[in-house]
Amino acid sequence: MTTLTTEPHVTQTFPIKDTIWCAGCGHFSVLNALDGSFGRLGIDGKDALVVAGIGCSGTIQNHVPAYGYHALHGRALPSAAGAKMANPELTVIAAGGDGDGLAIGGGHLMHTFRNNPSIAYIIMNNSTYGLTKGQASPTSQGGFRGFAAREQVDPVMLGLSIPATTFLARSYSGDGDQLEQLTDAAIRHANAGRGFAFLEVISPCVAYNDRYHEWPAHLVDVARTPGYDPRDRAGVFTQLLSWDEEGRVPTGLLFLNEDAPLADAAGPAQQDVDPASNREAYRKVLASFQA
């Protein structure tokens, strides 16, 4: 796959070279795209927090020039949402595997769609548990069979089923250009306060589920599908179902809702905690106990 291009220029405090990944792992492409997005979008890494889950995928934060947090398995989303609520001025990016995000973390995904915090979330879907050596994940069919009905849970379909969803995209580790574009689009969506930007990346595990050679024939890029309207929720659902029956897996910006009201952008919560400057306000609170 791609190799790392980043230099340890932003902080001297951690090396960003040595990944734990197997040569050829799909996760390299995701890293490359994410890493580059800081430059492309002009985001200063000091103002960004990358929150990852646990898994091979869950080490991506070690290699991105930003603040990094290695969350618990399955808890990347609530951790990231908490950080964003507390400081809406930060760029907050969550990332992790399909086991992390859809098995143990599946409940949080549904609630994050519904709460719609303005964070970008990249799920690196290899349809297996890489780090624990190849067990089935919620996106694997028994024995990693097929492409048709490829997924036991399709997070994009799930997202469509939740009214508050605003952004659903899918890309592929083998398509660096699309991946870069969609990574940027997701972060832009979130940083514009438009809500939760969900990006699934098909990111093959070469050790336990190597399907690089099979994927290209099955992918269909919605950007090249005439008449595809990502704003039509019912239409998207219908189209995705029918592609699924044909064994085709759509990529691109699959769904977008720009009509949703912007999320509040209150300032960072931690401001102004000095007791002296708050004393009068605290007295008001105290008085409420005298009523």
């Binding site: 001297q12 405090t13 290695h70 908490g82 949080h108 905690v273 000095d274 007791p275």
Partner: protein
């Protein structure tokens, strides 16, 4: 039992009134005590209330207790001067605790009390309140204000004061509800007249001190968190922690803060952790079942060195247990839960004042030591309401620990999130700080945050984390123990939270009987304070009073060096609050008294 024919009683003066009001859930017993609390507080008395409800919304036995006393009290007394009961079972339950001249206000809509039920000396004030309410106001609900009218008359409180209190308390409900309530009150006054209560049966002493505030432990703790700069709270509804979420949802937004109901406790603690990472002072709160779910998160905060306050409003376990009942049976879970070895602090407030102070201290400690700090509450400590002097808002101190400014970071040659330091605490940055970028992780890591299993590094990192508690202890940063009663006494007693009030009162009673007792109140329970162990080992006998069946607190002290031979367990685990006599009894009998 005597029925009342004429106002032949002269009012007894009391400065310590204990009252219970009970009925079915939904009967409005709590409102009766709330209105009386308002009135008696205005009279300058200290007020304390307790609730006893089932885990259901309507129906089932539900009671509220009120104590109004000139001296400050932190628990109900053993005897009840006033009993209000909308059902016979409420009277039956109260009988063992009746004062010799108790007043029993009874709703006789469904029939009179059986002859001979009440002991001699008790004074029955029976009226068909439910029937009156339906007849005159169309809804049985208003019977509680009829009862209020009878009780206030029995206590000799002027009618207008009562009407005033109602107006203030029910302001938000607006007309016509307030009007109906006032009408019901008048029905009560009328009933009292029929019952020939006259000028009142008790005369409650008035004192001064109307500046006092009235609040629960949950509210005091949440307020402490707020004034300590706490600005982020996530929780999931659970009895008896929900009030904290409610209170903070009301107030935090007014200070730029956020209080949020999460989808579950796993989300709650991880959101709180996420917020903490941005440098916001962050807290979560729950009770036993939720705390069990949060254990992985607590271990993560311990490993990743993330400041976090976790409130556990303990209730009767195990598992769902008895959700509305007090217990102190998560002490083990707090001190020893989570996987692996990591430092943590567990603090345990006793009084409502403690809740406020410890709320502040816990919030500071979490950030000073980048560590999870538990606040161990129990249903009583959480939900019982007390009247106390207003908090001192002028001397609040905030200690943000080793938080680096941009200038400090710039001056550093190299910034390592987990730098090895002699006190175990590493300087930290928050996102937004240039060149301070860090990797925070729950895995073992090198000082720069990169994951490693290097054995030498591991030993150093474990030792570094362990040093935090040593530093906290050595520096006297942890909430200190308080010694009450006779410091020199050979007999000691120890207890926290819901045992605090009953012990204090037991001390007085024992003193009155000539038994000198020293009460050591630890306000930190983990790490176990040295002075607690010394207290035990230096006495002849120490009674450790706790609300659980396994003597969790006492065993904790033994584990850390207390002599088991000195300790006598006082355990209550039946869901009832501890009472002064639970402590007086065993100590008196140890001293050869009955």
């Amino acid at each position: 039992m005597t029925t009342i024919d004429a106002p032949r009683y002269t009012a007894r003066h009391i400065d310590d009134l204990n009252m219970i009001c009970s009925g079915q859930g939904g009967d409005g017993s709590l409102t009766v005590t709330t209105v009386l609390a308002d009135l008696l507080r205005r009279d300058g008395l200290h007020v304390y209330t307790e609730r006893d409800v089932l885990s259901r919304i309507k129906g089932g036995y539900a009671a509220a207790s009120l104590r109004a006393s000139a001296p400050e009290r932190h628990a109900m007394g053993d005897h009840l001067e006033v009993v209000v009961a909308f059902e016979e079972q409420g009277v039956r339950r109260a009988i063992p605790r009746l004062a010799h001249d108790a007043v029993v206000v009874f709703d006789s809509s469904e029939g009179n009390l059986p002859e001979g039920l009440l002991p001699d000396g008790a004074r029955l004030l029976a009226a068909p309140m439910g029937r009156y309410a339906v007849r005159d106001l169309g809804r049985t609900l208003y019977k509680n204000m009829i009862a209020t009218g009878i009780v206030t008359r029995a206590l000799g409180i002027p009618d207008d004061e009562v009407r005033d209190a109602l107006r203030t308390r029910f302001k938000r409900l607006g007309q016509p509800i307030l009007g109906y309530n006032l009408q019901a009150l008048d029905l009560g006054f009328g009933a009292a007249e029929d019952l020939q209560v006259g000028e009142g049966l008790y005369n409650v002493t008035q004192t001064h001190g109307s500046e006092r505030i009235q609040l629960t432990g949950n509210e005091a703790l949440a307020f402490g968190f707020l004034v300590a700069g706490g600005r982020f709270f996530t929780g999931y509804p659970i009895t008896p922690a929900t009030d904290i979420l409610d209170w903070l949802q009301k107030w935090l937004p007014q200070f730029g803060g956020i209080a949020r109901q999460a989808e579950d406790e796993l989300a709650a603690i991880n959101m709180a952790i996420g917020a903490a990472l941005t440098g916001v002072r962050s807290m979560t709160g729950t009770s036993g079942p939720g705390l069990a779910l949060m254990q992985e998160g607590v271990s993560q905060a311990g490993s990743g060195e993330i400041p976090l306050v976790i409130v556990d409003t303990q209730r009767s376990g195990p598992s769902t247990g008895m959700p509305t009942k007090p217990e102190q049976s998560d002490i083990n879970l707090m001190c020893f839960g989570g996987n692996g070895d990591f430092p943590r602090i567990v603090v345990a407030p006793g009084s409502v004042q403690d809740c406020f102070e410890i709320g502040i201290q816990a919030t500071n400690l979490a950030e000073q030591f980048q560590i999870p700090v538990y606040v161990a509450m129990d249903q009583g400590t959480c939900q019982n309401l007390a009247t106390i002097e207003p908090f001192d808002l002028d001397s609040i101190e905030i200690d943000r620990g080793k938080r680096l400014t941009q200038e400090q970071v710039d001056a550093l040659g190299r910034y390592d999130r987990y730098a090895i330091t002699s006190d175990g605490v590493s300087p930290y940055t928050v996102p937004g700080t240039a060149h301070g970028m860090s990797l925070v992780t729950g895995n073992e890591r090198y000082p720069d945050g990169t994951v490693t299993t290097n054995p030498g590094n591991r030993r150093v990192m474990v030792a570094k984390r362990d040093r935090k508690l040593e530093t906290a202890v050595r520096g006297g940063h942890l909430p200190s123990s308080v010694l009450w009663g006779d410091a020199e006494a050979e007999i000691g007693v120890i207890g926290v939270g819901g045992a605090f009030g009953p012990i204090l009162e037991a001390l007085e009673r024992l003193e009155a009987r000539g038994i000198a007792v020293a009460y050591h109140q630890p306000r930190t329970i983990w790490p176990v304070p040295r002075d607690t162990v010394e207290f035990i080992n230096s006495r002849r006998r120490v009674f450790v009073a706790e609300l659980n069946s396994a003597a969790q607190l006492a065993k904790l002290f033994i584990r850390e060096g207390a002599d088991p031979a000195k300790i006598q367990h006082v355990l209550r685990f039946d869901g009832e609050p501890m009472r002064p006599n639970d402590i007086v009894g065993p100590i008196a009998s140890y001293c050869g008294q009955q």
